[in-house]
């Protein structure tokens, strides 16, 4: 069937205000969800789950959070890793200190803790922007790195500095096998992506984008910059914090502060730049790209090296990865600030009008 809205006459604004106003989009989303929940479990192997799918799901959730702040509200952050750490360690402390707290609440509380810390580190955004704000959020990164390494209370006085959780379950569902973990993360991501989509197309999203695009005009129509910016920091950190908690609890099961280093912050920022600033879809593209690229390079570069008669070391591949990211970031920032998502929507737009481009 053709992709277009022609002929789908909307007789009410309600129909036009749905989450996905174009019918084909609705069907596509449903098909993707059905495939992800029912189809994927039929054929995946453990490697695919552990190395690609689970990290992809969790990082997508984090990227959604970062995109709300950076892409929608226009506030730069280099502290996403810190908020993941806060989410993970807060959830850990709720987990060990409150007997019998349901897993769902544990993870949500982790997100709430991250949101609160996010608001605190968002305060500088009321005064500074751009580079200065980036530095202020970087401070969050270094502070959390230090706190979780040096304050033993947070790691429950673990001698090695690493913490671990086991026996995750919800209402008797043991989240132990990779496939359970996959379905668990997929459920979180589905719900949160919907929440993000709703927020960004409602009043809240308009406030964020207004602040991003023209803050003086935003104030003139009665948007308070403080409310808009801090709510973006809170929502963003909430998403990122829950992603952090999932990363620790579900993906790693045992972790140390290095799991949420500044590298992670940069990685998340790269994801939203490459995927598409200010696009829900872009967050997924970016996460997929960044998860898959290293693995692809790992396969591809040594093979290419053999063809050319040179050996490519693992370190070489790692460097190549950084170079590729660097080049792509520069490309997207200059050529296509809306990232892969824009390439996607341009394609869709062409398709929508095809075969009559005008």
């Amino acid at each position: 069937m053709l992709y277009r809205e022609n002929g789908q006459f909307k007789t009410t604004y309600a129909a036009d205000q749905q989450t996905f106003p174009i019918a084909q989009d609705r069907w596509a989303i449903l098909a993707i969800l059905a495939f992800a929940f029912l189809g994927v479990p039929l054929f995946v192997d453990e490697y695919l789950l552990r190395a690609i799918l689970i990290p992809f799901l969790i990082l997508s959730l984090a990227a959604l959070g970062v995109n709300i702040l950076v892409g929608y509200c226009g506030q730069i952050t280099l502290g996403a890793g810190a908020f993941m750490a806060v989410g993970a360690y807060a959830a850990y402390n709720f987990h060990i200190r409150i007997e019998g707290l349901p897993l769902l609440l544990t993870l949500l509380f982790g997100g709430v803790a991250a949101a609160l810390v996010g608001i605190v580190f968002g305060i500088p955004s009321l005064r500074v922007r751009g580079l200065y704000l980036a530095v202020a959020t970087l401070a969050a990164q270094f502070l959390t790195d230090w706190v979780f390494l040096r304050v033993p209370w947070f790691t429950n006085y673990s001698s090695s500095g690493s913490v671990s959780v086991a026996n995750l379950q919800i209402l008797g569902w043991q989240i132990a096998e990779p496939i359970d973990k996959y379905l668990f993360c997929l459920s979180w991501l589905t719900v949160f992506a919907l929440l993000a989509k709703n927020m960004t197309r409602c009043a809240a999203g308009r406030q964020w984008m207004a602040i991003r695009d023209m803050d003086v005009a935003a104030e003139v129509i009665g948007i308070r910059p403080m409310v808009a910016k801090l709510s973006a920091f809170a929502v963003s950190s909430f998403f990122v914090g829950i992603a952090g908690a999932l990363w620790g609890f579900v993906h790693l099961a045992s972790w140390e502060p290095a799991a949420f280093s500044v590298d992670r912050s940069f990685q998340l920022l790269f994801m939203v730049i490459i995927g598409g600033l200010g696009s829900i879809m872009g967050s997924f593209f970016g996460a997929a790209f960044i998860v898959v690229l290293p693995i692809a390079l790992n396969q591809f570069l040594p093979a290419l090296g053999r063809l050319l008669g040179v050996t490519v070391s693992t370190a070489g591949v790692a460097h190549a990865e950084l170079i590729v990211f660097g080049v792509l970031i520069v490309f997207f920032l200059i050529k296509e600030p809306h990232g892969l998502a824009r390439l996607w929507s341009t394609g869709k737009e062409k398709l929508r009008l095809w075969p009559f481009p005008h």
């Binding site: 604004y13 309600a14 036009d16 205000q17 989450t19 929440l195 709703n198 927020m199 409602c202 009043a203 809240a204 308009r206 406030q207 984008m209 207004a210 991003r212 695009d213 023209m214 003086v216 005009a217 935003a218 104030e219 003139v220 129509i221 009665g222 948007i223 308070r224 709510s231 929502v235 200010g278």
Partner: protein, 259 residues
């Protein structure tokens, strides 16, 4: 035309300077309910600065703003918006990354009652409210005749349409006082006529008080009830168009200035 209303906005001895530059010197004038009040003057006279002071974008070093009997020494854009003022900008200040619809919907911001949580789950109040605002915004879109571009990102629109969207966003606030900074600048005759019609309709049908900066003398003399003339930050004339036109100081300011 209706020049006889009560004073809704009263500016008292407003002075504003940027470093050494005196943009406004002891300006006083008032605006009456339902009138179209024009501010004119040569380039750099301080007209935009005046508008920026009125809705709190600039803070004057001296002077007060009395809005419906309430005295403000420190007006802020937010307070002004709450008090029912909205405005457009000389250099269009639209949200470039957003669609026409979203730009105008953003103008409804102060009337949004649902909270973030309700919006996130697209539940009851948030959803109902969004639809109600959408209807209202669609009326504005119809009124400004921009239905065909409602889903277009404003950055892609031609200048004349952007000016309309800017007006649309201001109208979406349902202001009681509307401040317009050169709404017709850079337009061709036809576009100017359309814009004039919109302004007169708003004034006439909605009873909105309008403060208007405009360079085109023909337009100003045609549509405004009273005119303030600024030159080098000072007020050199104030009154109905015919009086202002006959004022020797105004004539010399305009003849002396490069126009």
């Amino acid at each position: 035309m209706n020049a006889g209303g009560e004073v809704v906005l009263d500016l008292q001895k407003v002075s504003l300077s940027f470093g050494g530059v005196k943009a406004l010197t002891e300006i006083s004038f008032d605006v009456r309910e339902r009138e179209i009040r024009a501010i004119i003057g040569p380039n750099g006279a301080g007209k935009s600065s005046m508008l920026n002071v009125i809705n709190g974008v600039y803070r004057p070093q001296q002077g007060e703003i009395v809005l419906r009997g309430q005295r403000f020494t420190r007006m802020t854009p937010y307070k002004a918006a709450r008090a029912g003022m909205s405005r457009t900008f000389q250099n269009i200040a639209l949200f470039r990354g957003m669609s026409v619809l979203d730009n105008i919907m953003a103008g409804r911001n102060l009337r949004i009652a649902s909270n973030l949580f309700q919006q996130a789950i697209w539940w009851g109040p948030a959803r109902r409210e969004e639809l109600a605002h959408r209807e209202r915004v669609e009326q504005i879109i119809d009124f400004l005749e921009i239905q065909h571009v409602r889903k277009t990102p404003v950055g892609r629109l031609p200048y004349g349409l952007q000016k309309r969207v800017d007006l649309g966003r201001a109208l979406a606030m349902e202001p009681s006082i509307l401040l317009l900074d050169e709404p017709m600048a850079g337009m061709n005759v036809e576009e100017k006529q359309d814009m004039c019609r919109f302004i007169l309709d708003v004034n006439d049908q909605l009873g909105t008080t309008i403060v208007l900066i405009e360079h085109d003398m023909g337009v100003v003399m045609d549509i405004s009830d009273r005119v303030v003339v600024l030159d080098y930050g000072r007020k050199i004339g104030d009154g109905i168009p015919d009086d202002v036109r006959a004022n020797p100081e105004v004539i010399s300011a305009y003849l002396g200035a490069t126009h």
